[in-house]
């Protein structure tokens, strides 16, 4: 039972300018679920890429079941029984599940023709054995993200992997799908597989892993038995200092209604209904959260408020002013700040400097621009220097650093700083902490609460329920473009919200509770 499946000793890997792994050790026992914990950039993915043969280590040895091996490419890793499920799936959208699974190792019948029938049968068998309930004939584009992930898992099993590496598998899943994934991981273990789970979510580690190895800035920090340590202790190992998960906040003191949405309808880009008859109010001094599974109209709602998409019908008023027909610029002037969901697409011009990104929404007025339309680069730079120090943004080259060369956390801080600096009455915040490390998450959440305390109205959209529960004074649950229920903080628990996210009505959920 206690035999060692994988041993990586003294692994070092440098890239020009960074040491991604600095003498890292990892020892995974046969048939255990082993978590690999660390912040973004801690070196988890590099270490696993080395194990999977995508990178050569500069130093160190790898032993698989006690035998020293050189893994020179992913095919060698596959031959050793190692399979990897990447964070970004590598699937062909218009192929079926089976076609995707056999891609690269297609079996042929005696006439040299593709033999999908046998493959299909085997896929169905494996799917059943591990409780994956995947239909081998479905097309990838027709199935949910959670299903697609199972197809990736199936792909490794089909190639006879007994060591599975799962890279941040829960990042794209809903709470219910995450629960199902945890069941699948347990089932895989039951069936004798060894699993390495790369994650920065402590809850999941607590739920399924037996041991956990922590990396920090490329260095090996330690390996612990999950049952012996608390979440807080693991977080401290990961970050290097103690971390608060709960944000301290005073009860909200809501004032006047700032944002008023009435009977809003928005179509998606494909012409389908995105938002249906949605009405909601946000008052000054409160944070209202929109909880829901990705793709239930949140994006359309935000686009309609900020002016990126047109409302089909209904009205949106900010501070009593009807903004429904205004363009983006007019809405910014009317007092709408926007921290967009896709920060690289809508939030930043990556090839602009930090200074230019700070000025992105106000470059056309004083002090950045004279009445003749000439820019004052001095004013832009000094404004940037102020914000950089005020928001503790790590920009090595200061105001003239390109946004592209900054870390994700600092990029997000640039956006937050810009939006808060414009002092909007209404701050629309979408997915503010996705993909950020713990330190940045803590900082950004505190800033959002601080804005509330200044009397701003905050509308927060997040797919992470924790974030919603943690930050919001009121929670509205959205499903299929409709608000299915609105609650004050503390009125409902995570599970009830989960059911409503899946489409159950408020009344039914509350009835079950009583």
């Amino acid at each position: 039972m206690d035999s060692i499946a994988i041993e990586m000793l003294g692994i070092t890997k440098t890239f020009p300018g960074v040491v991604a792994n600095d003498h890292v050790d990892l020892s995974v026992r046969e048939n255990e679920v082993h978590a690999l914990l660390g912040e973004n950039g801690a070196g988890k993915s590099t270490l696993m890429s080395i194990l999977f043969g995508s990178y050569d280590p500069d130093e160190g040895t790898i032993k698989i079941r006690g035998k020293e091996v050189k893994i020179k490419d992913p095919n060698a890793a596959t031959a050793l029984g190692i399979g990897m499920v990447h964070q970004h799936f590598k699937l062909v959208n218009n192929y079926t599940v089976t076609e995707n699974i056999v891609l690269g190792i297609e079996s042929r019948d005696r006439f040299g023709m593709l033999d999908l029938k046998t493959a299909e049968k085997r896929v169905a068998e494996i799917s059943e054995r591990y409780g994956l309930s995947v239909n081998p004939r479905d097309k990838i584009e027709d199935i949910s993200v959670g299903m697609q992930q199972r197809v990736e898992i199936l792909k490794t099993l089909y190639r006879n992997a007994d060591i599975l590496i799962l890279d941040e598998p829960s990042a794209v899943l809903t709470p219910q799908e995450i629960d199902e994934l945890m069941d699948i991981i347990r089932r895989l273990k039951q069936e004798g597989k060894t699993i390495i789970l790369i994650t920065h979510k402590l809850k999941e580690i607590k739920a399924v892993a037996e041991r956990c190895t922590v990396l920090r800035r490329g260095k090996y920090i330690g390996t612990v038995n999950v049952s012996d340590v608390s979440e807080e202790e693991m977080a401290e190992m990961m970050v290097g200092r103690s971390i608060k998960f709960e944000i301290d906040k005073e009860p909200a003191k809501p004032g006047d209604v700032i944002l008023k949405i009435e009977n809003l309808n928005v179509r998606t880009a494909r012409g389908v209904h995105g938002v249906r008859n949605l009405s909601i109010d946000v008052r000054s001094g409160e944070i209202v959260g929109i909880a829901g599974v990705d793709g239930n109209g949140q994006t359309e709602l935000i686009y309609a408020i900020t002016g990126l998409a047109r409302a089909e019908s209904g009205t949106i008023t900010v501070n009593g002013k009807d903004v429904t027909r205004m363009n983006v610029k007019e809405r910014i002037v009317a007092g709408i700040g926007h921290v967009p969901e896709d920060r690289h697409r809508h939030g930043l011009v990556l090839d602009f400097t930090v200074g230019e990104n700070f000025a992105l929404k106000s470059y056309d007025r004083a002090p950045f621009s004279s009445s003749f339309g000439v820019l004052d680069s001095g004013a832009i730079a000094s404004h940037a220097t102020d914000l950089i120090s005020e928001y503790d943004i790590r920009a090595g080259e200061g105001a003239s650093m390109k946004a592209r060369n900054m870390s994700g956390g600092n990029q997000q801080k640039v956006i937050i700083a810009r939006e808060i600096d414009l002092s909007p009455d209404l701050l629309v915040v979408a997915q503010p902490t996705r993909g950020l490390d713990v330190g940045a998450i803590e900082y950004i959440r505190k800033r959002i609460v601080a804005e509330r305390d200044k009397g701003r109205a905050v509308l927060l959209v997040s797919f992470e329920l924790d974030e919603i529960m943690n930050l919001c004074d009121r929670i509205a649950i959205i499903s299929k473009g409709e608000i299915v229920g609105t609650f004050n903080e503390g009125e409902v628990d995570e599970q009830q919200i989960g059911f409503m996210m899946a489409g159950s009505k408020k009344e039914t959920v509350l009835k079950e509770r009583s």
Binding site: T306, H346, G347, F352, A359, L360, V374, L375
Partner: protein, 374 residues
Amino acid sequence: MMAETSKKRTLRELLLTSDAAISVMVVLLGFICGTVLIVCVGRNPVGMYKAILQVLTGFNIDRHRFYIRYVGEWLATSMPFILCGLSMAFAARSGLFNIGGEGQYVVGMTVAQIFALLGPQVSVLHWILALVLAMVGGACWGGIVGWLKARFEVSEVVATIMLNYIALYGSRILIMGLPGTNTYKTPDFPETAILKSQFLAKLTQGSMLNYGIIFVILSVIAYWFIMEKTRLGFGLRATGFNKDAARASGIPVVRSIVLSMAIAGAFAGLGGGIVALGSFRYGRVLAGNDGYGFAGIAVALVGNNTAVGTLLAGLLFGMLSSAQPLMESNRIPKEITFIIQGLVVVFIAIRVGFRIFIRYSMKKKAQREAVSNG
């Protein structure tokens, strides 16, 4: 030894980070290939460099004499290359691909020719107005494309290519309709419409260099100023880098697209006007494209879409073009210059691939060093 390796590394890093360094290297590479080619066809490559030296400085090595006229010709030849380069570059900085430089150039040329023949013959004012109208013509021609793209999402690539044909044949019809025009030329322009500068011609021993050069210099400065220093340029650059972020930040993307194409068209139109009134004494009925508009694409590529870069790249293309007759007399086939131009463009286009190669070799080197140190 140590010093040498560290220097080598900085050169590599320079090539990775600086587009200008890549451009210089690419041009050198183009000349090296050209030189090898001349050797391959059995001629002496020194002839090419002699010709280039004479174009750049006017100095003829064989006769030990300065012929400053060649410098004047070089600058005159470079003008349309620079302006069409600016046209392409301006659009590119705003995220648009302006293949319509040729059409905008032709429209500018046509407008200038018509105004030269029919406009009021007031000295100085005549040609200045003609050039201004050429710019307006080019700006309209470009602006149409911008409007089509912003309003109806018509691809600017397709629209500009089609408008190139309309410009060429429209120009033929209009010019042939002028009184006294035969199948290939109009009557001579009045003196007041001609760009010729006594002063500049005297300075350069009677070259074709004319007042157009002032407009070219002003254009380069205007390009730099608008792009880097104004509110308009900020919005254009933001739109060029990331249209979605620009839109989400309230930057008027539609206006940016129309304006950008119009300004790009104005540069090319000015180029057409300068060639019409500076290089010819009569209006031409175009039989085919002059090709400056297309060469402008290459000029902008080599110049990395910056003002100074485009100026230098335009001078390079002008130099190659005006070196041709001298090369012929040195028994070097003039086609070599086209090959060099082509190679430079190809090398620039594979810049991305080149960078990947450098990164890869740096990585390998870092790995080797890590292993040998450990």
